[in-house]
Subunit: 285 residues, 2 copies
């Protein structure tokens, strides 16, 4: 009987690379992790067969992935866009950068989409992390004990409209809305910094909501919106009443702890279907 | 011969209330300034007949404006939206807040539009600051010595698209674009904080551009986009190559110093017509 091919995990920061490794191993697949230097966390990828590589060392990456018999690849965990100077590409890296071409300077979607395409041309199958982490993707409905009230649902609905408009322009994945007023909009700075700003821009009255969604056309296999316990804590620190995110298109880094934190801090966690809207009538996930 | 009626200036922060007073006085009109406590600067409004008032003291405001024979009113200079607690409305203020109703909790446009409407119903004529400060409103074209190159013009064009989309959602007046990537988007935090963030999100390559525009439907008489020498300095500190703003719909707080700072720091200053776009073919203003 032949050994099944391995799942290669291209790992950025945070705990998710380890979760994907666990899930793939539980499904009987060998695992090999390529940890991006400066992003992947040694304690997360350490327990698995792994190597650390510079982001620019594409030649070394491709040969390591082939050497470890990887067929499926998962890109998971945040990396910041590197400066060209820090990239110091190896020979293969320089060739790949030439193939990326303008996408290197386009929005994130363009860059990640082009990377996925090139890895596909190299013979790998790119899988979304959600294909392994089925538990980490929520069905529509309220998770936890707190329910969004009518005002919060209206704010979520407005947030959905805003993020969809932003997404069509390839800008960002999130915003904060309080009583109909858009307090902050996320572009390159990331959700945590947007939440801190939202706390400072807070208006009188009931607290606002964080809305996160996949951008239309976003390469879900490379850059899925992610919510973790720290997101819930930061949302609470910013005076928000809850967090709403797109069902089936958001990864929960630690579903159980997200729910526990939300319950403890009195925030709602709502997974919504953008077509259905912010209502909570569907069965809890 | 009867005295002409006075121009009443409802003054927030910065130097513009003084400029409007100068311009109105130069046109032969008596001037009376109502300075909002905590926002209007004593050294700016001090040289003119004036009173300081709390934002919530609408009854006192209306009686002072009538007492000083004001017919035309100009709302000028930034105020932050007050908390309801800080507002402490007087009796007339409470009645006006009841008339403002939901607009108090709507976007800024709704609030300012409602205020202008109510002051109109009280018999005052609300004038835009640009009606007095004709020198402070730029015609389309490049001010100063630096010209935007092709890449900068493309970034400005993308910024115009972005801010128009944001404006239709009543979100903000500005964004920063660098080589096609939207670095930051302005919501409630204001331009200076957005510029600081843009500096931190800066990508490799040529610097980006700041784009500021009037929102569609924005109440120009109450909240015109404003550019000053500090905006130019902050744009430079954020690594930007220039500032682009909507001609005829942006106030320059100090046109001459804006141009001097831009020339000194090597930034371009472009006043654009959003219909014509970011080209620089029109004659310099």
């Amino acid at each position: 009987m032949s050994t099944p091919s391995a799942v290669g995990i291209l790992a950025g920061g945070g705990p998710l690379p380890g979760r994907v490794a666990e899930a793939a191993a539980a499904a009987g697949r060998p695992v090999f992790i390529l940890g991006f230097e400066g992003f992947a966390e040694p304690e997360v990828i350490g327990p698995w067969p792994h190597e650390f590589v510079r982001l620019g060392a594409a030649g070394r990456m491709l040969s390591l992935l082939r050497q470890h018999n990887c067929s499926d690849l998962v890109l998971i965990g945040p990396i910041r866009r590197p400066s060209l100077r820090n990239l110091r590409p190896d020979a293969e890296g320089a060739r790949i950068m030439a193939r990326l071409g303008r996408a290197l300077f386009a929005g994130d979607d363009g860059l990640l989409g082009a990377l996925v395409r090139i890895l596909g041309e190299e013979g790998f199958h790119i899988r979304g992390a959600h294909e392994f982490l089925t538990q980490a993707v929520a069905q529509p409905g309220v998770l936890g004990r707190v329910q969004p009230d009518t005002q919060a649902q209206a704010d979520i609905q407005r947030g959905i409209t805003v993020v969809q408009a932003l997404g069509r322009l390839d800008i960002g994945q999130g915003c904060v809305v309080q009583n109909g007023v858009v307090l902050t909009v996320e572009a390159m700075e990331g959700t945590d910094r947007m939440l801190a700003r939202a706390g400072e821009c807070r208006q009188p009255g009931e607290g606002g909501v964080l809305v996160k969604m996949l951008k239309p056309g976003q390469e879900k296999r490379a850059d899925m919106p992610t919510i973790g316990p720290v997101t819930v804590q930061n949302a609470h620190a910013a005076g928000l009443r809850g967090v709403a995110f797109e069902a089936a298109h958001t990864l929960l880094t630690d579903r159980q702890r997200c729910i526990e934190e939300a319950d403890r801090l009195g925030l709602f966690l709502l997974a919504f279907d953008p077509v259905e809207g912010a209502g909570t009538s569907t069965a809890p996930a």
